[in-house]
Symmetry: C2
Subunit: 457 residues, 2 copies
C-alpha cells in the first residue's frame, strides 16, 4: 500500500437516467434519453474526457407491468449499447453485465471477443448469476436454481469461456496470401470440454482479442460469491455501508486471492458510492430532499421485494422491516443481509429504509461538497478499504457533471487520480497484465489457470 | 406484377472480404480488414449512398483449425457489428443471422429490439436453424437434431419471440413525470407462454421498437423451410441456378403465402447473385480466372463437406461427385440437393464443381458487363422469378464498387431501382406495413398472427 504511484480507479455505473429510483421524474431529466443513443454518446464522451477507467451497465432479465408503471424500465441490452459506444469512444473501458445462468458460453465468449476487437481492447464482463424467479420464468424454469447450484454453473461457465478465449493463440493469424495460409492451425485449438453443465468442442469462431480475454468483473459478496471472485475476478464491485465493513471485505478478498496464488494488486476492489454533490453541504442536502420527494414508496417496496426475492408489499411502511425467513430468501443473499443489517443498525422504519435504498440500493450514499466526498474516497483508498470506486450518480443529467467537474479535479489535485490515460486497453487502465494462454507452448503467465485449478469452495 | 411503381429490392450480402473463398488472397484485398471496423463503415456508407435496401451478415457457430488454416475465418459476431454500424449509418437496413437452435428467445428478442431502437427501425433477423454437427458440438450436443425437429423448435421460437415483441404495445410508454407513471401497465403484457420447447412469462424488458418487430428473413428451401418461410418470412433469400428454377420457386412461395391468407407482396423474394463485372465481357472473364487461380481445391472440398454435412475429403478431384447417401445428409438439405443437381445437370467433375461453388456456394454467378448483369436481373424481375436480389460480390474491395458504380446506375436508368430512399425503416424500404400487435385491444393488422395459427406443416 506504500506505492507512491498507486492511484484510484474510477468506474461509472451507468443507470441511464440516474441511480436514484425517482431520477426519471426529476425536472433535469428527459426520460426519452433512456433509448436515445446520442445521450449515451455524450455521457461516454464526458466520462472519457475525465479519464475514468470504465463505463459499466448492470442488467436484469425480467420486468413486470407494475415495475414499468412506476419505473424507467427498458434500456438497451448492455452489449448492444456498448458495441455502438465502442466505435464513438477511444479510451474508456466498456463493461457489460451478462448472466452465466441464462446464456451459452460459446455465444457469450464470442460476443465479448467481438467487442474486444471492435473497441481495441476495452471490453469487460461483469459476471453475474441471475438471482430471481422472475428471471428464471423467462428461461423455461419455474424457480431460480438455488444459490450454490448457480455458482457451480458459473464456475464451469468460466472454465469454458476462458478456454474459448484461449482457443486462438495471440499469434495464430498468419495471413500469408502467397502461401494461402490464413492461420497457423497448430495455434487454433479444439479442446473438447466435457463437464457437468457444458460440452463444448471449440475453437471459438473469432480470433483472440487485443486483451486476450475481457476484464473479468464480479460483484458477489456471499461466501460462494467471494470465493468465486477470489478465483476469477480482476475487478470487484461491492456494496459497503461503512468504512469498517469495507476494510474487512477488502482484507478478506485480498487474502483469499493470495491463498489462491494470485497477486493482491491483480484484484481491484471498487466499493460503490452514490454521491449527491453541492457547492455547499446545504445545497447537497436540498438535492437529496428533492429526490426523496419524488420517490414512490409503493414502487420502492416492489423493487426491494424483487431484489431480495421476498414479497414485502402490504407491510406497514411505518413499522420495522419484518423478519425475513432465512430459507425463503432466494435472491441475492449478500445484498439482502446488508439491507437487514442496515435497517437494524440504524433502527429504521420500512419507509426510512426505502428512502435510503431508493438512491443507493445498499451502496453508500455520500451527500456533501466535493471536498467532503473526496475526503471519504481518500480515506478509504489510503487505509485499505478500496482501490477505487464504482460511481453511481443519483441523477445522470446534472449529477454526473457534478462528479466529473467538481470531484474528479479535486482527486486530481490531490494526486489520487490520473490526468491522462497511460494505456490503451481496459486492462492497462486497471494495471492488469496481458493474460497467459493455457494452450500456448510457453504461456506468458499461468497465474489465472493455476488459480482456477486450485480454486476451492 | 403489372404495378408500374414496382421496383427492385437490393440486399448486400457482406462476406467481409468477398464471397469467393479465395477473395482474401486477392491482390486487391487486405485480409486485416476482417476485423477493422473502419472498413465496414466505409462499405456500409457506399451501399447506403447507392440506396441499397439493406446489409446482411450470414453466420455459423463453429470452425476448425483446418478451416482457419486456409480461409479467412473469424469476423465479428453479426449483431455486435450491426449495433456499431447502426450508429454510423442513417437509412440502410441491417440484417443479422441468428440461429433458433442455439439461442434463447428472450435474449434474441431483446437484442433485436435493442438494435431496432438503436437504428431507428432498421433491424432485420435472418432466421436460421443450425445444420451441422460441428455447431451442435459447441452447444452440448453430439449431433445436430434432425431437420424436422429443428423446424419444430424454430416455429415455437418464432411464436415466443413475436409474443415478446408484442409484449409492450406501441403506445405503452406514458412518461408522465407529474403523475409518476412511466408506462401504462395495461399495455405491458405477461403472456405465460408454455410450449414443447419453451416456457417464457414475459414481458420483454425493453419497449417495442420502431418497427414493432424486426424484418423477418428466411432462407430455407426444403419443404419444411418453405412452409416455415410462407408462415413467417417477410423477405426470402434463395439460391437459384436457372431462371426456370427461380420462377418455379417464386410461384410456389407466393402460392403458399396466399394459402396462409397473406398478401403475396408481403413476401419479398430475393435470389442470390454473384456478379463478376467487367467493362467488357473479356475483362469480367479475366477477373473470374484470377479468383479461380487463387483457389485451393483441398480447402474448397473441406468447405463443401462442412456445408452438406458429409465428408468428401479424399474423393478424387477429377472424378464425378460421389453418390451421397440420402439418410446421411444431416446438413442444409435444400442447398445440398441444389448442388447435386448442378453437378449432374452440367456433368461436372468434383474439381469443376468446387470452382463453381467457390464463388457462389450454390448461388448464380454472372460474369459479364453491367448491361449483361442488369439484363438478367431485369428479366428475372419482370417475369415472376424475383422481387429483387441478394448481391454477393466475389471480391469486396473492388467488386463491391463495380456493382454499386456500374450496375446500380444502369438499373436506375432503367427505372428499376430507387434513386432516393422514400422511407426511414427497413420495413418501409421493402414495402411492408407496420405489424399489428396480438395483445392490443384493436390490432392494426392481424395478418401474421392469423397466419401463424393456420400454419401447417
Amino acid at each position: 500500500m506504500g506505492n507512491a504511484h498507486r492511484q484510484l480507479h474510477l468506474n461509472l455505473f451507468v443507470s441511464p437516467l440516474g441511480h436514484h429510483e425517482a431520477a426519471w421524474r426529476h425536472p433535469q431529466t428527459n426520460p426519452e434519453h433512456l433509448l436515445d443513443f446520442a445521450f449515451y454518446q455524450r455521457l461516454a464522451a464526458k466520462a472519457e474526457a475525465a479519464k475514468l477507467d470504465s463505463l459499466f451497465f448492470a442488467d436484469r432479465l425480467a420486468t413486470t407491468p407494475n415495475a414499468a408503471r412506476y419505473g424507467a424500465i427498458g434500456g438497451y441490452e448492455p452489449l448492444t449499447l456498448l458495441s455502438a459506444l465502442a466505435v464513438v469512444t477511444k479510451r474508456i473501458g466498456l463493461i457489460a453485465t451478462l448472466s452465466t445462468s441464462f446464456n451459452e458460453p460459446f455465444n457469450l465468449a464470442r460476443r465479448f471477443a467481438s467487442l474486444d476487437h471492435l473497441s481495441g481492447g476495452r471490453a469487460g464482463w461483469n459476471i453475474i448469476t441471475s438471482g430471481t424467479d422472475a428471471e428464471a420464468q423467462n428461461f423455461n424454469y419455474e424457480q431460480i436454481p438455488e444459490h450454490a447450484a448457480r455458482y457451480e454453473r458459473a464456475r464451469e461457465f468460466l472454465e469454458v469461456t476462458t478456454k474459448l478465449w484461449d482457443s486462438w493463440e495471440d499469434d495464430a493469424l498468419v495471413r500469408d496470401k502467397e502461401a494461402g495460409i490464413y492461420a497457423d492451425s497448430a495455434k487454433v485449438h479444439e479442446f473438447h470440454h466435457k463437464g457437468e453443465h457444458f460440452a463444448v468442442k471449440g475453437p471459438l469462431n473469432i480470433s483472440r482479442g487485443p486483451q486476450g480475454r475481457p476484464l473479468l468483473v464480479q460483484a458477489g459478496s456471499s461466501q460462494n460469491g467471494r470465493q468465486f471472485a477470489a478465483a476469477y475476478a480482476e475487478a470487484i464491485f461491492t456494496a459497503q455501508q461503512t468504512f469498517e465493513e469495507a476494510e474487512s471485505f477488502y482484507r478478506d478478498m485480498k487474502q483469499r486471492a493470495v491463498q489462491l496464488q494470485r497477486l493482491p494488486e491483480h484484484v481491484v476492489i471498487l466499493p460503490g458510492i452514490c454521491p449527491i454533490i453541492g457547492r455547499t453541504e446545504a445545497e447537497a442536502r436540498e438535492k437529496e430532499a428533492k429526490l426523496v420527494e419524488l420517490s414512490n414508496p409503493a414502487y420502492s417496496l416492489m423493487m426491494l421485494s424483487n431484489r431480495i426475492g421476498f414479497d414485502l408489499t402490504g407491510c406497514p411502511l411505518d413499522g420495522p422491516l419484518p423478519q425475513l425467513p432465512e430459507q425463503e430468501v432466494r435472491g441475492h443473499q449478500s445484498r439482502t443481509h446488508l439491507i437487514v443489517e442496515l435497517a437494524q443498525r440504524e433502527n429504521l422504519t420500512l419507509r426510512q429504509l426505502l428512502q435510503r435504498l431508493a438512491g443507493g440500493r445498499g451502496h453508500q450514499t455520500i451527500t456533501g461538497t466535493p471536498q467532503q466526498i473526496a475526503d471519504v474516497m481518500e480515506h478509504w483508498f489510503k487505509n485499505g478499504a478500496a482501490d477505487g470506486f464504482n460511481i453511481m450518480p443519483q441523477l445522470m443529467n446534472g449529477g454526473l457533471e457534478d462528479f466529473l467537474d467538481l470531484v474528479v479535479p479535486e482527486l486530481q489535485r490531490r494526486g489520487l487520480f490520473r490526468t491522462e490515460y497511460t494505456g490503451t486497453t481496459l486492462r492497462e487502465h486497471y494495471g492488469l497484465p496481458h493474460p497467459g494462454n493455457r494452450f500456448a507452448a510457453q504461456p506468458a503467465s499461468a497465474e489465472l489457470y493455476e488459480t482456477n485449478r486450485r480454486a476451492i469452495r
